[in-house]
């Protein structure tokens, strides 16, 4: 265990210790000053320049307050923690004071007082609340999470104003000391789940956690699986909804992406506005997304299986037009599909990396001009362009980016299997994926809930599954919630009868 240095009552010693810790840190302001009516109390104020607003902040108020007090009154105020500043905190070791400084607060050492005082301020600069980039919805709030873990927690609290919403802070990263918040609803979230999350967070040591993705990868059970075992969201309303289902939200500082756990296949297909829209349209769209998630993985493979092995499936005219379209293409169908798929992935990657307007341009240039030119040059057939475009559309219809990525990777596996063994390859590939999914779980919840194990929650989860039943029928919380408190919707007697 690392040895810690206690804060001394001698200001000089404390300054020396802080200098030792933060030498060659020119971004940190270190100010020697005197306080008190008679300017007879020496003190040392240190903070990160941009993180503390010296113009109009609690720190300025405190300094003004100290200037109006006598030496004895200053010590008395410090002893009683009567500084007139909320959330002021005392540290008894230099290391803790250093950590406090690095969270973006100001640290004050007063000569003759053997503790460091943390004075809260704005903290590090961040982007502020903006629209969520992914998970766009037609109906509902467009607020997205920010880089600040505190703001993110506040955005959740804004939506669930209940004292039962608990926020438990943990640190991750030996050197980065990133703040990680676990947000959950007391009584709804399972105690075992919370303990398991805590155990996993303590189960690794790493230099730095710069995004929630690092935590995700280090705490998931089957690291080799392409399927995400944590759900991610940039939407506070989605996070709040999950908390009400008895799930736990993991917020990491500097990351606008919250982790939702446990999760399952079905959760990745749902969107927030599934619950804001009427059930008929919500069900239709969800079904569409399920179909899309299937075809995003399998369509190019299916095309190869049908055209190379099982031509009897297609109507003759369609088959002949496929054959006509292929005439003159110099590559075998599998290479043609691979070329198109890789080109598409390349375009996507380029579009993401380029600045906004240029990204759009790349999409248009790639999709229209290069695609058309490739067809005209007989490098690929128009049918394959249609197949790949449709696959891409299907992939975009999957609301969760990580989950869609798994489909995009598996697509290549299916291409190989179908090019090799036709529909048998497709079935074998599907079976392999099903076996994998059936063995996968997220914090003890089978990944395929409620396709499997729906009886565990008396088949309630099947009401919100391939299709969503009317909201008034969804009266119980899903499997994640504490079994003793699953009821989430009640009607007055008259409504109930109606």
């Amino acid at each position: 265990m690392e040895e810690k240095t206690a804060v001394s009552s001698s200001l000089k010693e404390n300054i020396a210790q802080m200098e030792r810790l933060f030498h060659t840190c020119d971004d940190i302001k270190k100010i020697d000053m005197t306080l008190g009516k008679d300017r007879d109390v020496a003190c040392y104020l240190t903070f990160i320049e941009v993180a503390v607003d010296m113009g109009n902040s609690a720190l300025l108020e405190l300094l003004k307050y100290f200037r109006g007090l006598s030496r004895a009154e200053i010590y008395a105020s410090l002893e009683k923690n009567a500084l007139g500043v909320s959330d002021a905190m005392y540290f008894s070791t230099i290391e803790e004071a250093g950590d406090g400084l690095l969270t973006g607060e100001a640290i004050l050492f007063v000569d003759g007082f053997a503790k460091a005082v943390k004075i809260p301020d704005d903290g590090y600069p961040n982007m502020g609340v903006s629209e969520a980039d992914s998970e766009k919805v037609v109906r509902g709030s467009n607020e997205g999470f920010t880089d600040s873990v505190k703001q993110n927690a506040a955005l959740i609290r804004k939506r669930i104003r209940s004292p039962q919403v608990k926020v438990s802070q943990k640190k991750a990263g030996v050197r980065s000391k990133t703040n990680v918040y676990l947000v959950y609803m007391e009584g709804l979230a399972s105690e075992e789940l919370l303990a398991e999350i805590g155990r996993r967070l303590e189960g690794f040591e790493i230099d730095g956690v710069l995004d929630s993705g690092v935590i995700e990868q280090l705490t998931e059970e089957k690291w080799y699986s392409p399927f995400p075992q944590f759900q991610t969201t940039e939407r506070p309303d989605r996070a709040a909804m999950s908390i009400l289902e008895g799930r736990v939200i993991l917020l990491s500082d500097n990351s606008p992406v919250a982790l939702v756990l446990p999760t399952d296949y079905n959760s990745f297909i749902k969107t927030s506005d599934d619950y804001y829209n009427r059930w008929e349209i919500a069900s239709f769209e969800r079904l569409l997304r399920y179909v899309a998630s299937f075809f995003a993985m399998t369509l190019p493979g299916l095309y190869l299986a049908v055209t190379n092995f099982h031509t009897q499936i297609l109507p003759t005219t369609l088959l002949l037009s496929f054959a006509d379209a292929r005439r003159g293409v110099p590559f075998p169908a599998v290479i043609e599909v691979l070329i198109m798929e890789l080109s598409f992935e390349l375009l996507r990657e380029a579009g993401v990396r380029l600045p906004g307007a240029m990204g759009n341009t790349i999409g248009i240039v790639g999709g229209l001009i290069i695609g058309q030119a490739a067809v005209e040059a007989n490098l690929v057939s128009p049918i394959v362009v249609i197949v790949i475009s449709f696959t891409a559309l299907c992939s975009f219809a999957v609301p969760n980016e990580e989950f869609a990525t798994a489909g995009r990777l598996l697509k290549f596996f299916f291409i190989a299997a179908c090019a090799w063994l036709g529909f048998f390859g497709m079935l074998a590939g599907l079976l392999a994926v099903f076996i994998h999914l059936s063995q996968l779980k997220s914090f003890g919840i089978p990944y395929l809930m409620p396709f499997v194990g729906a009886d565990l929650n008396e088949y309630e989860d099947e009401r919100d599954f391939l299709w969503r039943q009317p909201l008034r029928k969804l009266r119980k919380r899903p499997i994640y919630a504490n079994p003793k408190d699953r009821r989430k919707l009640r009607f007055s007697d008259r409504e109930e009868k109606g």
Binding site: F443, F451, G453
Partner: protein
């Protein structure tokens, strides 16, 4: 955590047990039972299914007694109840049965894949892929397996139901009758065959230790039997109604063939057999997995290692993985042997059905006897001893906990290495498998898709067909063949035709739903496509579309005759065995610049029977209720159209002569002014009521006379029965059916035909 979060507790739910058992029962039985019943009980197969399922229920009752008495896993229970020697012998017997059944299933699985999906591919490669998948699936334990089938259940069963519904349209209910004709021995044999497949319900006792509530497990067993029985009954009736009993008995996998024979309306999917094969892919995989899984559990009991004692732990252990991989190795070898040596196959089937099934029944029967005889007293004594053993083992377990924790830590460190090793092994196996494969077929544009073909010349047609693929630089893909045009000379040569049909059925390259037509010179119709009406300079006709497409459109969309009535290749295959239909193959000739049906060629009970004119053929279709409308012109020039026919065929015997009585009941319409002028049907309100009635009666009499004369002429002169009554004979007159079954050629010569027509004139 484990208990509360539900997963990895080595337990399955009642619903999962039901679906698992249904999959186990459904796969192999739907492939084996229909042809077996077709061979033995024929039309009485449906009763054999009922009897087999009923016997299955009785067997399940027996197993229920055993399951309720079990407090431990079945293998351990066997030793407790039967003693070490007999218990171990029973365990060993089960292992042999499981391994043999797994080997047989693997063989059938691979064979079915090869025949239906990958004809050109290596048997070993397909088998290897299946075995690798089985290894991967088994490592997930019983829960992983149960979850797969629970999820896939309706995704497979709903399409299966849809396909069966699509197939309803093609059924000929005459093929279902007569019933109760099978010999008692054949009935018993058929019932036993069905029961032998249902006896796999024995899995419930093996699944006993994985389901919390025994009652739920038994209920799942009952539901699985009922569900499988219902599917079997529906499937058998459909197969029987489409293929006929005799043809069914000669087919390899009629249930799969059915999917290729069914014509899906709508036009997007032409055939769904490749998709529908998924049903057998997953069900056979389930059975293979179950056999190896329970076999591995038994082996783990027979040769207990360090982890023995608690079945759940043993199942999870690395040792179980090794055992199941080893068993799969044996299964793989057995499947290879079964493919190479037909004798092995026979012996394997003999072992499974004649030794295995009695063994499956005998063991629970003996156990029930032991329970009945020893009863509660000995049981208690054993329980006490068992309890004390359990206490000791609990103490031991407590001590071993510390050891286990250490070993778990060690294992954790090894997991990474092991994962890499496993992935490496799988990759290597797949790579090796890849070397067995041609890895690809001809590209789409490098294949020829003939739409129609001509068959002519009576010598070496089979050889010519086989060599056709080597002519030209493209592979020939017959999957879109619409029409086979036979030269009249060829189809009349019975030997050549039978040889040709046998060759086609064996190669199975041509779709069963290919239409058949006859022409004097079929070559003049083939390959003549283009936009003009004649080729420049040659004077030969050039059609706007291929003849195959033209005729398909004609038969399916334009003709008044039901498309199911047009003979297809599948019908000819069936007729080789069934020999009960009178099929009318359209005979085409050029009329102007288009091919038109100018005559019909009769294919009577699997043999050629010459050409008939169009009116006679149309009468035949009309009599058999195969056409929506039937138009004819009377001798006096009156044109009438008959529609909405509900014709019935009866058989009568009077004064030593036997009659086919055709009762025609339909609506009629008179065309043109000539009718009124001739006084046949007075038109308009001006006609007096009685005169009108008389006119109608006269016209009906003329229609009846026309039909009578036409039918009689064909029957007496050509021995062609336009009513196609032979296939209905069994349902109406069992005594005649039995008499003619031995000598069907005598049928037409000993019959008279009588038409009784009733027309409701508009």
């Amino acid at each position: 955590m484990r208990e509360n979060m539900f997963s990895e507790n080595n337990r399955i739910s009642g619903r999962q047990a039901f679906r698992l058992l249904t999959y186990d029962l459904l796969g192999l039985s739907t492939l084996l039972v229909p042809p077996a019943l077709g061979r033995t009980a024929g039309r009485d197969g449906i009763f054999c299914i009922a009897a087999g399922v009923a016997a299955g229920f009785l067997f399940l009752k027996l197993l229920g007694v055993v399951a309720r008495d079990m407090e431990e896993a079945y293998p351990a229970y066997l030793v407790r109840r039967l003693g070490r020697v007999f218990g171990t012998l029973a365990q060993a017997g089960y292992v042999v049965w499981f391994v043999t059944l797994a080997g047989y299933t693997a063989y059938l699985f691979t064979d079915a894949v090869k025949k239906n999906l990958l004809r050109e591919e290596s048997y070993l490669l397909v088998l290897l892929v299946i075995v690798l998948l089985a290894v991967y699936g088994l490592w997930g334990g019983i829960e992983g397996r149960a979850r797969i089938y629970e999820m896939l259940f309706w995704f497979l069963i709903i399409p299966l139901f849809l396909m069966l519904i699509f197939a309803l349209d093609e059924i000929r209910t005459d093929y279902w009758i007569p019933v109760a004709t099978a010999e008692p021995s054949a009935f018993l044999k058929g019932s036993y065959q069905m029961f032998a497949c249902m006896a796999m319900i024995t899995f419930v006792v093996f699944a006993g230790s994985y389901v919390e509530d025994k009652r739920r497990l038994l209920l799942a067993g009952k539901r699985a039997l009922l569900f499988t029985g219902a599917i079997h009954a529906a499937l058998y009736l459909i197969l029987l109604g489409i293929f006929g009993a005799a043809a069914l008995g000669e087919m390899d996998y009629p249930a799969v063939t059915l999917m290729s024979a069914v014509r899906i309306s709508g036009g997007f999917l032409k055939r769904a057999d490749a998709f529908m094969f998924a049903v057998w892919f997953f069900t056979l995989y389930a059975l293979l997995n179950s056999c190896v899984f329970y076999g591995s559990v038994l082996v783990a009991y027979l040769y207990p290692g360090e982890a023995a004692g608690s079945s759940a732990d043993a199942t999870d252990s690395r040792r179980m993985r090794i055992v199941s991989a080893a068993l799969l190795g044996v299964v793989c070898l057995l499947a290879c042997g079964l493919q190479k040596h037909p004798l092995w196959r026979e012996r394997c089937e003999m072992f499974l059905w004649r030794i295995g099934t009695p063994f499956l029944v005998l063991v629970p029967l003996v156990l029930c006897g032991v329970i009945f005889i020893t009863g509660v007293r000995k049981d208690n004594g054993r329980h006490d001893a068992h309890a004390s053993r359990e206490k000791k083992s609990a103490d031991r377990e407590k001590k071993s906990d510390v050891r286990e924790k250490k070993s778990a830590d060690r294992e954790k460190k090894c997991t990474g290495r092991e994962g890499k090793r496993t992935a490496g092994m799988l990759a290597a196996a797949l790579f090796c498998a890849g070397t067995l494969s041609g890895c690809g077929t001809a590209e789409l544009e490098d294949r020829n898709f003939p739409i129609e073909i001509a068959v002519q010349g009576t010598e070496h047609v089979a050889a010519a067909w086989m060599n056709a693929g080597q002519e030209g630089n493209r592979e020939i893909d017959y999957s879109h063949l619409k029409v086979i045009l036979f030269a009249e000379e060829f189809i009349e040569d019975e030997t050549a035709m039978q040889e040709f049909l046998a060759m086609l059925e064996e190669t199975d390259e041509v779709p069963r739903n290919t239409y058949l037509v006859v022409a004097e010179d079929p070559a003049e119709f083939v390959g003549k496509t283009g936009a003009g009406s004649s080729e420049e300079g040659s004077g030969e006709p050039v059609f706007e579309e291929s003849v195959g497409n033209y005729l398909e459109q004609l038969f399916e969309n334009v003709s008044q005759i039901r498309r199911q009535a047009y003979p297809t290749l599948g019908m000819l295959y069936q007729e080789r065995a069934n020999r009960c239909e009178t099929l009318l193959l359209p005979y085409i000739s050029m009329e102007g610049d288009k091919p038109a049906v100018t005559q019909y060629f009769v294919w009577k009970r699997g043999e050629p029977a010459g050409v008939v004119d169009v009116p006679s053929a149309l009468l035949s279709y009309f009599t058999m209720n195969e056409t929506d409308e039937y138009s004819l012109t009377m001798e006096n020039g009156t044109a009438v159209t008959l529609s909405g026919a509900h014709n019935q065929i009866h058989f009568e015997e009077s004064g030593g002569s036997r009659r086919i009585v055709v009762k025609v009941r339909c609506a009629g319409k008179v065309h043109g002014a000539s009718a009124g002028e001739n006084g046949d049907v007075p038109s308009g309100d001006a006609a007096a009521g009685s005169a009108e009635r008389e006119g109608m009666e006269e016209l009906t009499r003329q229609v009846e006379q026309y039909m009578q004369q036409t039918a009689e002429r064909l029957l007496t002169e050509r021995q062609i029965d336009v009513s196609g009554s032979y296939r209905k004979l069994g349902g109406e007159r069992r005594d005649w059916y039995a008499e003619y079954a031995a000598e069907p050629a005598r049928y037409e010569s000993g019959m008279e035909i009588v038409y009784q027509v009733q027309v409701d004139w508009e």
